[in-house]
């Protein structure tokens, strides 16, 4: 065979495979690291894609259009239209307070009931007096009812009737005191007093997910037109179309995913690099021998690469299984096998690539070993020719320090991966403990723990739900002084209530954007005006002058319609509302001032300031001085009260308020605590995924530490044997090794606690500026857990390692490799 022929891949493979058999500890750590990193990246991908898929799936099956008051024939025509995916029919009867509960009564056909996933026992109501009642409502009433039983009930229309309860809904009601009562169609017609049978057809259009709002409107109109339904009977749900954009994956979320994957794989890559580096350093003589007997540099590199590849192929499948299980567990509703297959392929490829990169340098080092070098190799790569001092302290602790310096590169590499894991852990847990989505509720409840406000949402049959109808309904409640001084005094008299603050609100109809829509005017005080003037205010600066004539201050940034329909000081726009006498007011209101609240809020956030806004300003587009509004409307425009309570009496006050006002038809009582709890539940899975990421990073750190300790021991077996031979006891050896690894632990702890904490603070600041709900807290518990885990690992593995070493006799350990 010529010198240029080197066709002996087989022997390289065999040596690599044999080398792997003799390196079980390294193989285990490497496989574990690869498996964990692949699992983590896959979990993240499946979580993000799965969350989107889950939302899209729910969206896909949600209706977008309602055709109101259609005849059965029109409903059938709509159903038969090929542009329609499915149709369900329903009929809203009404909503009213019965006792402390709000009952919403309606009819739904079987198909729609199924779509809503209502679980029930019994038979669905068909006959005239047949109904289905939720079990938790029956329990509230203290009734022991079975399907088929009869009961006398008032369903909110102030008429007690004998109903046959043919079914009991088992799905729990969404709110404690709010229940849905399902009635048969004949029953619904009876309750509404309608003679002609009409229903609302609820429609899911084909391809709706790819439509925008305008196209959906056209499509809905076409379907309606073909069924003989007029345009004013058609309502398209605009929220559906804005939601579907949110549910889809954005370039931003893909980028975040890519960044997270890169971070995880880099952390794992450093660990794997370190594992192989230590392994190669411990086998220098062996590589020297191989080079002596004729193995080329390329063959040595191929040998190391093969070892890395084999370990990758071993670790990746475990990682895929673990990642798949975790991805499914986090978002079972978003599971998609194709997504999993694609993500698994990407993760596998990434895993192989990163392992290949990680072992490349150690492979080069092994390949560069010269036979002569290998013979004299002591593992010492220091640059000094001789020590400066004649004798340094030779305590085990100082020997440890000398050891760390002997191979700076190895020490730095080990520290790097521990430090990276520590910093990321500190940063991520800072963000997680600081993320407080429920804090948005504090903004909605700026001056109280409860809010008691007007409600004109109840009623049966004759309710005018048009824009003006609602404005009139609310105005009549205000004209009747529903939220008057008597009520205020009553609230102030409740034991535990520390403050009662009114807010003022007048419902109007306006076409400020060219089309009639419902808006409101919020009443502000002179004190509120001082705050408004800080918000890039333009217009009249004197409160007195402002209050002289009815006019409004307009917030021109939050509502995007102002981009196409800008307003400025001096403009006028038409407004319709009702006064205290029930008379309609039609007038043009002048714009007396404008504010740019969004810019002001953003600037404040950049400075780290978050100012709580009073209800009179928060979320308000149109604002008028309270006195002016009251005079103009000819009534007390108090809409509600914010009720502050003493913290130790919060539950008690809540109960009292519920008893006093829970059954009031025209009032709604809101609780800050209940809403917070509900929001915290919604955000729970997001926090879980971030904690999982932090936990994985801790595990990477621990694996690396474990690997460092074990390979430190086993690669210096001979040297430790010599030390023992000349008289170093086991305790002294443990002290020396402990001190070495303690240096790594101390640095990692410092990085997690200080650097990670600082980075976490920066992350929280950025999130705050981006208007995420965060309130900085230092992650004491995760950091403490990390410290304890590292210290335990360091202590346990050092002892274990020394014990394992003793299993081999001193003589055997001292033999040359």
């Amino acid at each position: 065979m010529g010198m240029d022929k080197n066709n002996n891949g087989g022997i390289v493979r065999r040596i690599a495979d044999k080398s792997m058999k003799n390196n079980r500890a390294r193989n285990f750590f490497t496989c574990l690291t690869i498996a964990l990193s692949v699992a983590l990246v896959l979990t993240f991908i499946l979580y993000i894609f799965g969350s989107s898929k889950e939302k899209l799936r729910l969206q896909e099956d949600s209706p977008q259009v309602s055709y109101l008051d259609v005849t059965p024939e029109q409903a059938e025509a709509i159903k038969a239209n090929s542009a329609v995916k499915w149709v369900g029919t329903e009929k809203k009867v009404g909503s009213s307070k019965v006792g402390n509960s709000r009952l919403t009564v309606f009819y739904q056909d079987d198909f729609y009931m199924d779509k809503d996933k209502i679980e029930y026992t019994g038979e669905l109501p068909r006959g005239e007096n047949e109904i289905m009642v939720p079990r938790d409502y029956l329990e509230q009433l203290g009734l022991d009812i079975h399907p088929g039983d009869a009961a006398s009930l008032d369903l909110g229309d102030k008429t007690v009737r004998e109903y046959k309860i043919t079914a009991i809904a088992e799905s729990p009601s969404k709110a404690k005191n709010s229940h849905k009562i399902f009635v048969s169609l004949p029953c619904a017609l009876l309750m509404t007093g309608q003679s002609e049978e009409t229903v609302d057809a609820i429609v899911n259009m084909q391809g709706a997910m790819d439509m925008d709002y305008d196209i959906a409107q056209e499509s809905a109109a076409q379907i309606g037109g073909q069924a003989g339904v007029s345009e004013d009977q058609i309502k398209v749900n605009d929220v559906y179309f804005s939601q579907s954009n949110i549910s889809k994956l954005t370039p931003g979320s893909i980028m975040t995913l890519a960044l997270v994957a890169l971070l995880i794989l880099s952390a794992a890559g450093i660990v794997i690099h370190n594992i192989f580096y230590i392994s190669v350093a411990g086998k220098v003589r062996e590589y020297g021998q191989l080079r002596t007997i004729g193995m080329t540099r390329k063959q040595v590199r191929r040998m190391i690469s093969r070892e890395g590849r084999r370990l990758a192929l071993c670790g990746i499948p475990f990682g895929l299984v673990l990642g798949g299980v975790m991805g499914y567990a986090l978002v079972p509703g978003g599971w998609d096998f194709l997504n999993f297959a694609g993500a698994a392929l990407v993760c596998s490829l990434l895993g192989i690539v990163f392992v290949g990169i990680s072992v490349r340098k150690p492979g080069k080092i092994a390949a560069m070993t010269s036979p002569v070098e290998a013979l004299g190799y002591t593992g010492y790569t220091g640059k000094e020719k001789a020590s400066k001092e004649l004798q340094r302290s030779l305590t085990p602790e100082n020997l440890a320090a000398l050891n760390l310096r002997r191979n700076r590169k190895k020490s730095i590499l080990t520290m790097c991966s521990l430090v990276l894991a520590g910093i990321l852990m500190g940063a991520i847990t800072s963000f997680v403990v600081s993320y407080d989505p429920a804090a948005v509720v504090d903004n909605s409840y700026p001056d109280g723990d409860y809010q008691l406000q007007l409600s004109a949402e109840s009623g049966y049959t004759n309710n005018d739900t048009s824009l003006l109808g609602r404005a009139k309904a609310y105005a009549s409640l205000q004209a009747a002084d529903t939220m008057g001084e008597d009520l205020r005094e009553e609230l102030e008299g409740v034991d535990g209530v520390t403050g009662v603050k009114p807010w003022h609100y007048l419902m109007i109809a306006t076409d400020i954007f060219g089309e009639p829509e419902e808006m409101s005017i919020n009443g502000f005080t002179e004190e509120d005006f001082e705050l408004l003037k800080q918000m890039n205010y333009e217009g009249e600066t004197s409160y007195q002058k402002l209050a002289e004539t009815p006019g409004v201050i307009v917030e021109i940034e939050y509502n995007s319609n102002f981009e196409k329909n800008p307003v400025k000081v001096g403009d006028k726009f038409p407004v319709v509302c009702y006064n205290g006498k029930g008379e309609m007011i039609e007038t043009d209101l002048p714009v007396l001032g404008t504010i740019r609240q969004k810019t002001w809020s953003s600037d404040n956030r950049k400075k780290g300031i978050q100012q709580k806004l009073p209800l009179s300003i928060m979320g308000s587009t149109l604002m008028m001085p309270v006195e002016t509004m009251n005079e103009w409307a000819g009534m007390n425009t108090t809409y509600g009260y914010e009720i502050a309570v003493s913290p130790d009496k919060e539950a008690e006050v809540g109960k009292t308020l519920e008893e006093l006002y829970g059954a009031e038809e025209n009032m709604y009582l809101g609780s800050k605590r209940e809403i917070k709890e509900s929001r915290e539940q919604e955000e729970f899975s997001m926090k879980v995924i971030l904690y999982v990421l932090a936990a994985f990073l801790v595990i990477f750190g621990l694996i690396n530490l474990m690997n460092t300790i074990m390979t430190n021991l086993f690669s210096r077996k001979r040297e430790l044997g010599i030390l023992q031979a000349v008289g170093m006891t086991k305790v002294q050896i443990r002290r020396m090794l402990s001190r070495e690894t303690l240096s790594y632990v101390a640095l990692s702890v410092f990085c997690a606690a200080a650097v990670g904490g600082a980075l976490g603070y920066a992350l929280v600041r950025v999130a705050f500026i981006m208007q995420l709900w965060v309130k900085y807290q230092y992650p004491w518990i995760p950091v403490l857990v990390y410290i304890v885990a590292l210290c335990l690992m360091q202590w346990g593995m050092t002892r274990y390692g020394v014990k394992m070493l003793q299993k081999e006799s001193l003589v055997d350990r001292m033999k040359e490799n």
Partner: protein
Amino acid sequence: MSILEVKGLKKYYGTEPALVKALDGVDLTVHQGSFTAVVGKSGSGKSTMLHMIGGLDIPTEGSIKVAGRELSNMNDDELTIFRRRQIGFVFQSYNLVPILNAYENIVLPIELDGGKADKEFIMEIVRMIGMEKKLRNLPNQMSGGEQQRIAIARALAAKPAILLADEPTGNLDSRTSQDVLGLLKNTGERFGQTIVMITHNEQIAQLADTVIRIEDGKIAESRWN
């Protein structure tokens, strides 16, 4: 006075029928201040015997007394401490600690014992081995011969009861071997040190006062030079 007494020393590996009898009943007495060479072919059991005497390995059977102390009664830590105080080792492959300089390697057993080295004594040894100028050098900055000199100095520094040398010239060229052996003998005589040396080389063995031949795990011959 006997500084080393070995009685009925046995070391077996494995079990029947694959039982290997590395040592099969060795009796030996070494007097203080003497230089004893143990010769034998490769696999005869000489290194095994040295390891037993030095407390590096545990015999299957038998008694070893060094400076009146029975080694078989000691646990691992006691043996280690005994080694650092009473036994000096010179190995074939020098076995210096790579992160320590020459001087530090010499005083290591004393420092491990928490003691302070007798600097005058150490320097006397250093002058005898001719390494005054290389005390700050690290092992990888020294030749094989220089490293072995430092190893000899380390073995002598704690004034042990016995110095055990396992093929001390095995990795050295003939010229250096002569130098090292000369040093071993001279320092031994100078400090009244008891030396037991393993070698397969009959010529080297002639330097010793007593030569013991081991064959098949037993002492075959013992003669005085």
